[in-house]
Point group: C2
């Protein structure tokens, strides 16, 4: 059986970890795609397609540990959502301003 | 003669560099102190006092290269200001929301 994903509680969210997680262009793009989509996305859809699976997983792990996303297994697939409301309540305006300022990443798969 | 400080132009500011620079608690505290003060601060006043000079310089360099601060020599001292207006114009709301969410760093020199 696969291990469940661990998500920090809202109390444990740290501003520095959120900023560090979003300081990488690929991770910023993943969060941007998740936030602009209306539904949970699996990892392959949310991440730039040219990335190796292991690199994708690493980025999703950092985003999860920073409290930016929530990951859930649905059958064989993992779907992800941004923890918008919780992040907004904890750090008002921070992630929404960052996402507004972020430009879509030019990707080979775009 | 000492080398002049290099500051990126507004066009060259990158969101990821700004976030990376602020993802460190000491650098976030330096920018918070500079932004809440009304006047330029020298490095020793803006940085937590327990830091070694070389560590201070490294943090100021990262902040300068990200375009967050402007440093100027005045005699033997270096004074720093936050590039508030330029950063706000380029990435509206980002740094102001981050600074509002940032808590003062508990420091031995506080």
């Amino acid at each position: 059986m696969q291990r469940p994903f661990l998500h920090p509680s809202t109390d444990d969210l740290r501003l520095e970890s959120v900023l560090y997680a979003l300081a990488d262009p690929v991770r910023l793009e993943i969060v941007r795609r998740l936030a602009t989509g209306d539904c949970p996305l699996n990892c392959s859809t949310a991440a730039p397609a040219h990335l190796a699976k292991s690199t994708q997983s690493h980025h999703f792990q950092i985003l999860r540990e920073a409290g930016l996303i929530r990951s859930e297994r649905r059958g064989t697939e993992v779907v992800n959502t941004v923890r918008c409301a919780e992040i907004e309540a904890k750090f008002p305006g921070v992630v929404s301003a960052i996402l507004k300022a972020a430009k879509p990443l030019p990707c080979p798969d775009a």
